[in-house]
Symmetry: C2
Subunit: 189 residues, 2 copies
């Protein structure tokens, strides 16, 4: 196991580099009125990449997550940079985080994070026909790459370092797609 | 289809009732230093409820979500109130949102929202042996209750009002559990 990073300091932040909070006044069709808060995303969305090394083996990465202050195991993911398509972002993040590129990329579905409070969306990309190719990323340390069999997905959920809802959903959806049980809509985003 | 609520006003909020942003300075074990932001949850967590009307039929609800400004179809969910266990919160939310209570409640897994940026966690609760019982909630309007077959989960993902990662993960995990393929850890939370 990796040694957890040391927390040197914590402080409240009044302004965020990434998050903007909005208040919205609403009138429902039955006349009810409410004021809701929501977080607006500043970027172009994110990608979650289900990268298949073979027909049953997916490449997961283990990364430190400051929200939970622990290492989490899940699919590679990242933000879509300006000027990139979702498929380009997926192929870049896969090279940065897992050291592989893909010859075949398929958009499966768009997932929301917290639709009642956040505007954030992420596209799930299936990456196939992989080859070794690394790119330097902005990660503070290299990530462990962990192969896992899709046929052993329930055992993955029993681990204490697997928890992210969208990562788990992405794996199940990819498994259904590869088994011929799920057909993506034409425009996933 | 429901008529969307009218947005009467939008304004930036400097302070949030629900969200606190923290900056954290970190030293990784390789010497790298980073300052990360995270959102700290103020409450006791949330529950996502997979409520089975029969062995294959789950009760979904359709609710307006201001984050995406649309009605979203997913499992009933809500916050854990002070003094409540996760199972008690699940049974209360199920009565408020779907008009049912459950005689049997099982904790399946704890899901995180965005582990790299948020401390938020939600417990997935399977609710079985249901009976009709309503409780008034704080929803601005009644929710449509939509039965759906777990055996037709891939078709659900093809809808344009189904997107929440944790709701989709909860349905897949419950399906695996009911099929005998997934065994929860002893302490889900």
């Amino acid at each position: 196991m990796r040694t957890l990073p040391e927390i040197l300091a914590r402080r409240p932040a009044r302004d965020s580099r990434f998050l903007r909070i909005e208040e919205i006044d609403l009138a429902f069709s039955n006349g009810a009125r409410r004021t809701f808060e929501r977080l607006t995303a500043s970027g172009r969305g994110a990608v979650f990449i289900v990268a298949m090394r073979d027909r049953d083996t997916v490449l997961l990465v283990r990364e430190y997550c400051v929200g939970l202050d622990r290492y989490e195991l899940g699919v590679p993911k990242g933000r879509i940079d300006p000027g990139e398509t979702a498929l380009e972002a997926a192929n870049r993040e896969l090279q940065e985080e897992a050291g592989f590129a893909a010859r075949k990329l398929t958009s499966l579905i768009t997932l929301s994070l917290l639709p009642a409070y956040m505007t954030h969306k992420a596209e799930v990309i299936l990456a196939e026909d992989l080859y070794s190719q690394s790119r330097p990323g902005d990660e503070p340390e290299g990530l462990d790459v962990v192969p896992w069999k899709l046929s052993e997905l329930p055992a993955l959920l029993g681990r204490d370092d697997v928890s992210e809802g969208r990562s788990i959903a992405a794996l199940y959806i990819a498994r259904d797609f590869l088994a011929g049980n799920f057909r993506p809509r034409e425009t996933a985003c």
